[in-house]
Symmetry: C2
Subunit: 403 residues, 2 copies
């Protein structure tokens, strides 16, 4: 799959570069890849995701591991089957723990730098699935401090508004309120801070610089922040008062946080957090200009139906310039966001495979796919918005209580 | 006054060097001066304190300003008269505010890296005096996070113990409980953190490096910490919901914090904090080895009377090697900790001046001064310990309540 896109955040005046993970080959697409928790640029092909695994030192999700998941849960989630979740650390270890009767926590989160779009929902939908299958407690962290510190033009009120809006989305996913607690950093800092300073004490600026790409112009809030995102990895052990395994489902760009967390975990007497890493889901616009911060490129959970339809119908596709050419030459689903959204959100496995070959053979025109995606998305978003509105009454139920 | 001493903290594995404030003269004493919030080394003579004023960009406390204080309060505190408090920033401004009916907050603090000794008490005694004279609210910050982050061998329990012990000392000073609130960073972080990230966002690593001497080996907790100590400068404005002036009485080594705080204050819509800076009060041991972390060099508020007496009687003095020589040549009160402790704690102005000239002329032997200091200190510490014990029941009354 060629999955070229650029993700960045609007209004940034700080730019961090994570170490370029390309080797010395003249492979232009991989040379241009930048991945930090704050910036993702590049051509994402399967090959490049494989290189990320190598560079970050994570593991492919092997067939053996997929079979192990199937043995325990009785099935394999399509997002694993489709390799949307493609990489892991210690997933086998945490499944062994579970088989030996040790419950694990799930931990994921959201940086409230804007409204939530469909691409954001995939890891959360998967996290909800894991919660159901493993009856796991979940900590969902909202890093309002990070987004305030990173975005030079954001004031605290703007972030506060996003925090509220994003919480509605999280609750609308349908997490079990008895097992799920939302942590907002500035609100629940008292529970994070004592753990964060334990972590911070073990990480030199030199290490943080090489992992996160900090430089002399980085503000000291950003430099001090990573331990705040690391802290929820160890919070379950504090809450349960016994060593408690944690599994983090999240996109691969968050990996730097877990790398430093794993480095210090055992020194501090905690388990290393396990991870399952997803790829990135791009927006709908032209490949060279995709950006989640550009409203026209993403279907937001707050969009009106006619807006959803319009965005989908204006989407970039893998199609040919004319119907005639498409019928003659076929189109390219590998570079088509319409195809991906249908695949990850709405198609069955069988239907997606059929769609792939029909598209390639020229027997499927882009209008048909767009129309299907528009219809499905409108239904999905309408339903999601209803759950989102109901979530307003459930906020207190989901909020973590600091001790 | 020659006031040579070395203060550092035991168990440090990190060393920061504040920019050496010496100029290019071959003045050996000033070349060896290092001042950061975590380390003070050097020969402290009046001349060097003057150089500090120049280097840090603070102001001498002028006669005009002393007269202004006298006009408002009806008197001049001996610690100002004796130039123990020798430097300031915006003290004139804050007195003008006060004269115009605008109340100011006092803010000072303690890094709980050990037990409290008499040297620590002087700025607090002065702060209490200011509280009485100006009817000021006081925020007293205990930086348990900083001391945990700085001292590589300190675990959180060790710090917790010091926090409790130090709080007893603070309360024993006699602050007005209705006007005084103690903030323990890890306990009250929720009230500090939102202000701290506002500050942190405005300070680059480059600035922090040059002000605090951070380097690649500094842990990221230390780099992220300064905004936590800066935050109480702005907290009064949040608490009072209107711009509120703040005056910080503290030793000059804390100045780097206030410098960065003042740099960002107006950008964030706060008043710059005003300061009144004290000199350092050394321990009692040999000049070349003085260190507040060496128990034999300091009279702790928890010392037993016989221990107090023994420490004083073993003190280094400015005396001559023999009684005969002392009678013949006179002694040197300028380098004598026994003289300083008597001067700052127990002597009246008149008595201190007499002592100075009697000492210089050879008409006063060290045994007499030591005996006087021992007697006075035993009475002082006995009384202080009683108040310290009573403080155990007042802790809750003095603790800040996070909102």
């Amino acid at each position: 799959m060629v999955n070229r896109f650029i993700r960045d955040e609007k209004d940034n005046s700080i730019k961090h570069q994570y170490q370029n993970y390309s080797d010395n080959k003249t492979d232009h697409s991989s040379e241009n890849i930048i991945i930090t928790p704050w910036e993702v640029h590049g051509d994402f092909e399967d090959e490049n995701y494989s290189k990320l695994i190598e560079k970050f030192g994570t593991q492919h999700i092997s067939l053996d591991l997929i079979n192990k998941i199937k043995k325990i849960t009785g099935e394999v989630h399509p997002l694993i089957k489709f390799r949307y979740f493609f990489s892991h650390r210690d997933l086998d270890w945490i499944l062994n723990k579970y088989e030996n009767g040790e419950q694990f926590y799930l931990y994921t989160g959201r940086g409230p730098s804007g409204l939530v779009h469909m691409g954001h929902l995939l890891p959360w939908i998967f996290t909800k699935y894991l919660q159901e299958k493993f009856n796991s407690k979940l900590i969902f962290q909202i890093t309002d401090d990070e987004k305030f510190l990173y975005n030079m033009n954001f004031d605290r009120n703007r972030i506060k508004n996003y925090v509220l809006e994003n919480i509605l989305d999280v609750i609308a996913i349908g997490f079990n309120p008895e097992l799920t607690k939302i942590i907002v950093d500035t609100e629940h800092i008292k529970s994070l801070y004592p753990i964060a300073i334990e972590i911070a004490k073990k990480i030199t600026f030199s290490t943080a610089k090489s992992v996160f790409g900090f430089n002399n112009m980085t503000n000291i809030g950003m430099i001090g922040f990573p331990p705040i995102q690391a802290a929820p990895c160890f919070l379950p052990t504090v809450l349960e008062n016994k060593p408690t395994p944690v599994l983090i489902p999240a996109a691969i760009d968050q990996d730097p946080y877990w790398r430093i967390t794993r480095d210090v975990a055992e020194k501090l007497g905690y388990y290393k957090p396990a991870q399952i890493h997803s790829k990135f889901l791009p927006g709908l616009s032209n490949l060279t200009k995709m950006s989640s911060s550009k409203p026209e490129t993403a279907i937001f959970t707050t969009d009106e139906p006619e807006v959803v339809r319009k965005k989908v119908m204006s989407s970039f596709t893998g199609g040919q310039p004319t119907v005639e050419l498409q019928k003659k030459l076929g189109a390219n689903p590998d570079i088509c966001p319409v195809f991906w959204y249908l695949k990850y959100f709405f198609d069955t496995e069988k239907k997606s495979i059929e769609r792939f070959y029909r598209c390639r053979s020229g027997n499927l025109l882009c209008g048909e796919c767009k129309n299907e995606l528009a219809n499905e998305s409108v239904i999905f978003i309408k339903d999601f918005k209803k759950r989102r509105e109901k979530a307003r009454d459930k906020i207190a139920e989901f909020m973590f209580e600091s001790r």
